[in-house]
């Protein structure tokens, strides 16, 4: 008996040893895992932060070096910094106005098309739905330059050719090019929004006496309001950032088809890096506002259900 007790206790000591060794090893491995992932992840975060801070630092540096030679330091800081200089430039003023108007129109158009498309894709089963769904991703995955080129070529053909003179290289081309890409993002967003809304609600409304349009407009659409806001802001932001298709389809004519992204390009081309960075900072600020709005809206996806 005593023998067996002894071997038992020896065994259990060994097992205990094994246990704590394995425990320590797992703890070390977990630590290593966490540290390596945090390190890899934070490298990218630092890059983003670095890019933003570099822009701000560059503009500040330029302002300070100008202000040092001026009679009033703070007066010069306020009036002669690259952003103020850009904002006084009539070319940039024009570009800001055109950007605001074209982005808003492109976003409105995007939402107008995205609501029915997103709804059909989400609710109505038909043969080839997956194909249509994939097809709508083409503007997103296509290289932007190709979108512009394809639009340009499209307007060589009848019936588009008839209106080409008043569209290509004109302001309408800006809106059309922006819409062609941003609409795809709006459709994605609206489809996701409708996917999240319980189709039973619409069925109940129909059983209660609604036509499909009434069920949509009284029940589904009000629930999709925040999704609509997200789709609009996303489309707006995509339009603001659009450059490649614009350059080819609308051109980069100053005071005519110049939008903010074109301004950055044109300022760089004439060697005015300060101006380019100043315009970039304006665009960064707008983008951050857009991001905050979409984030806020996506935390409240269907008004109350969240």
């Amino acid at each position: 008996m005593s023998d067996s007790i002894d071997t038992d206790s020896i065994d259990s000591v060994n097992v205990q040893d094994d246990f704590s060794m394995r425990n320590a090893w797992i703890a070390r491995s977990n630590q290593l895992f966490a540290i390596s992932f945090v390190l890899i992840g934070s490298t990218y975060l630092l890059l983003i932060l670095g890019m933003l801070l570099a822009d701000v630092a560059y503009v500040l540096d330029q302002s300070v070096s100008k202000a040092k030679n001026a009679s009033s330091f703070w007066g010069s800081m306020l009036a002669d910094n690259p952003i103020s200089v850009s904002l006084r430039d009539p070319k940039i003023q024009h570009s800001i106005w055109l950007s605001m108007i074209s982005c808003t129109l492109a976003a409105i158009l995007s939402v107008v098309f995205a609501v029915p498309l997103g709804y059909v894709l989400s609710r109505i089963p038909f043969r080839g739905r997956n194909l249509v769904d994939a097809f709508l991703d083409i503007p997103i995955v296509l290289p932007p330059l190709i979108v512009g080129l394809s639009l340009l070529i499209l307007f060589q053909f009848t019936p588009f050719r008839w209106v080409a003179r008043s569209i290509v290289y004109q302001v309408p081309a800006v809106i059309l090019a922006q819409w062609a890409v941003s609409c795809a993002y709006a459709v994605r967003t609206m489809k996701m929004t409708f996917d999240q809304i319980d189709p039973r609600c619409e069925q109940v409304a129909i059983s209660l006496g609604c036509t499909r349009f009434q069920a949509f407009s009284l029940v589904t659409f009000p629930e999709a309001k925040l999704g609509l806001l997200t789709a609009f802001t996303l489309a707006w932001a995509r339009s603001l950032g659009e450059f490649g298709p614009l350059l080819i389809f609308a051109g980069a004519t100053r005071m005519k088809t110049e939008v903010l992204s074109t301004s950055v390009f044109l300022e760089m081309n004439v060697g005015n890096i300060e101006g380019a960075v100043a315009v970039s900072l304006l665009m960064i600020a707008v983008s951050i506002v857009v991001m905050i709005i979409t984030r806020w809206a996506s935390y409240h996806p269907t008004d109350g259900k969240a």
Partner: protein, 222 residues
């Protein structure tokens, strides 16, 4: 009266064939079957969300086989209630009447009546989010009954509730049954529920309805 004559419906991969079902006016019919037996598909055919392949459906003496769900006059209660989340409880109850352009005073008095029957008077001004499961079912049931339909279709109305709430809603259904104003088709997989509520029980097995009277007597014997 709910009457299905030789109805065939596609239900996912299989087909319900030659369905015969009759719930006389004012009675409480229960449709039972295992998960995936096609109960909900058959209910959807009655409501009109699913088109029938063959046969005919009569509700309260009218052939509605090819009619739009909006004109069939069925009060429909889905499993999770499916309340309109952008409307208040009161607006949910009034929905069917507003669609029918009923005058404001009549809507108000009907809403009060329903709120009393369903026991949701204090909830009328509330938004639907934040309501408990039982409260949601009461509101949904009230909404379905608002336009005084002659037919009620209930799709597993008790299955998502805790046992206490379940008993309360079951009592409410018994009250509605006693009022004897509607013909009810209630889908469930719960035998206890069926025994307590049903005048007639229909079992859906392998795409066919088992004779209802034998099903009921079989249950009563056991």
């Amino acid at each position: 009266m709910i009457s299905l004559d030789n109805v065939s419906v596609r239900a996912g991969a299989f087909r319900l064939e030659g369905i015969q079902l009759l719930v006389p006016a004012g009675e409480y019919g229960i449709l039972m079957g295992k998960t995936g037996a096609g109960k909900t598909s058959l209910l959807e055919a009655v409501i009109g969300f699913k088109s029938v392949v063959a046969g005919s459906i009569c509700l309260a003496g009218r052939d509605v086989t090819h009619m739009n769900p909006a004109v069939r006059g069925i009060g429909y209660l889905p499993q999770d209630g499916a309340l309109f989340s952008t409307l208040t409880v009161e607006e949910n109850l009034a929905f069917a009447l507003k669609i029918r352009r009923v005058e404001k005073e009549r809507i108000a008095s009907r809403v009060r009546e329903l709120a009393e029957l369903m026991g949701i008077g204090p909830l009328l001004k509330r938004q639907t989010h934040g309501l408990s499961g039982g409260e949601r079912q009461r509101v949904a049931l009230g909404r379905a009954m608002a336009f005084e339909p002659r037919i009620l279709c209930l799709d597993e109305p008790l299955s998502a509730l805790d046992s206490e709430t379940r008993e309360q809603i079951l009592q409410l259904l018994l009250t509605i049954k006693r009022l004897n104003q509607v013909t009810i088709l209630h889908v469930t997989h719960d035998l206890g529920e069926a025994k307590r509520l049903a005048d007639k029980i229909f079992r859906l097995v392998n795409g066919k309805i088992e004779a209802s009277d034998t099903a009921l007597s079989g249950i009563r014997d056991s």
